[in-house]
Symmetry: C2
Subunit: 228 residues, 2 copies
DNA sequence: GCAAAAGTGTTAGCCATACACCCATGG
DNA sequence: CCATGGGTGTATGGCTAACACTTTTGC
């Protein structure tokens, strides 16, 4: 006896992306203004339907590429939302993904979508269950950021210690002590000082660091655990 | 302009359940022997297709009820698996759920499914990507167990300190020091000593405890954090 | 020379860990 | 009375958190 799949219902399945960026001061998310019904003109996450020939990961990457032109972005599946009435016009499941992008990269945001970076804290109400998706994504981001070096995805290649601290303060919405933060980071020994200075923020200038991924991987394979 | 959904492909979407139980010594999972093709006769997780009128949570609860007759079980969504060829005969997405059940409850396992409790460590190879699902579920269980009181879902209402320690040792696959474990649990002050003794395990007998959920909730709302 | 941000160490309290003996009881 | 598992306290080292002054340099 072979299973006859035709008796089972099929479903529309979409992906929605929570795209995080950091401008040096605030965490932001990239939102689009819907240019189609339902809820045309309202703010939402960027999403798209999953095609028959692609996985949800591929669909999320495609959606991200379509909007930003970026590839090889940090992207992680979060959760599948399946409430029957989560969209008013049809039963659509959606798998949420969150992405981390360096906001300074030359992003050519596709004009077609009226996308905007908005501060996470000041984000407008979103359609459907997209507010829940964002909330879940922030929780996941915090957890990942505290246990792994994903914060660097949000920074340019070279960054100051202050940038890094600002980033973590934005992610956790919490202030840290400068000396404790610096020595914790330094004690992990996963950054390299480029010996270049960023002279834009002060007269004295502040050193620029790079995340040393090779070193991090090596240390990790020897039992090291990132922890903030 | 309203979106025309008919142009988008629809998908079969299933749920698969990783059902954990604890027998006092070992963590177990409930597996079924497939009685239909493909891969008839091989071990797999218990699963089922999502119907048009139900959410994935409801489908998972239904699958669990069908197999065990149990309702109101701890159940949490894990991840959506969408590889095109994850099943050989059709493109089927699957949302995994993990469940925690008290193995001592009068479970009437539905004979129809040839289900068996097997020790997690000795689990056979499973079909499709079910091995990955189990691995992901164990990781999630460990995380949840270390930060919340979900372990009690796996124990009978009354349990000894030894039971509790055995449980956490099984979950984390790691031995703990008896005195440190006891004092950590006691310092959280979320158990009540029933002043009954379990006389089956020793001459002296060991006290039976209950998890005090009310107290836990109250403490939690005041900032308490469970931590093991 | 002064304003503004960068950089840098020490201390005290807390928590995690390591560790061993007496107790109660049934047989 | 003895064998078996149950129950209990202390000391140490490491980590976290609190805290303030000096340096550099452009203006």
């Amino acid at each position: 006896m072979t299973e006859d799949y035709s008796q089972y219902p099929k479903h529309l399945v979409a992906v929605d992306c929570i795209i995080f960026g950091f401008d040096g001061e605030n965490l932001k998310i990239l939102l689009v203004k819907r240019n189609f019904e339902p809820q045309m003109g309202e703010w939402s996450l960027m999403g798209g339907f999953i095609d028959s020939h692609e996985t949800s990961d591929e669909a999320a990457n495609r959606v991200l590429y379509t909007l930003t032109g970026l590839e090889n972005i940090y992207l992680e599946q979060l959760k599948c939302y399946t409430e029957i009435k989560r969209e008013p016009t049809a039963r659509i499941m959606s798998i949420s993904y969150y992405a981390l992008i360096n906001i300074e990269k030359n992003i050519q945001i596709n004009e077609q979508y009226s996308a905007e970076w908005v501060e996470l804290k000041k984000a407008p109400d979103l359609i459907f269950d997209h507010n829940d998706m964002v909330k879940d994504a922030v929780a996941r981001l915090r957890r990942r950021a505290s246990t792994g070096p994903i914060g660097f995805e949000l920074l340019p290649e070279k960054f100051t210690m202050k940038d890094l601290q600002n980033l973590y303060e934005a992610i956790f919405d919490e202030k840290f002590d400068k000396r404790n933060f610096t020595s914790k980071i330094n004690s992990m020994d996963i950054l390299v000082n480029t010996n270049e200075k960023d002279m834009t923020s002060s007269r004295k200038g502040s050193f620029l660091y790079r995340f040393d991924e090779k070193k991090y991987n090596k240390k990790t394979s020897q039992g090291f655990m990132f922890k903030i």
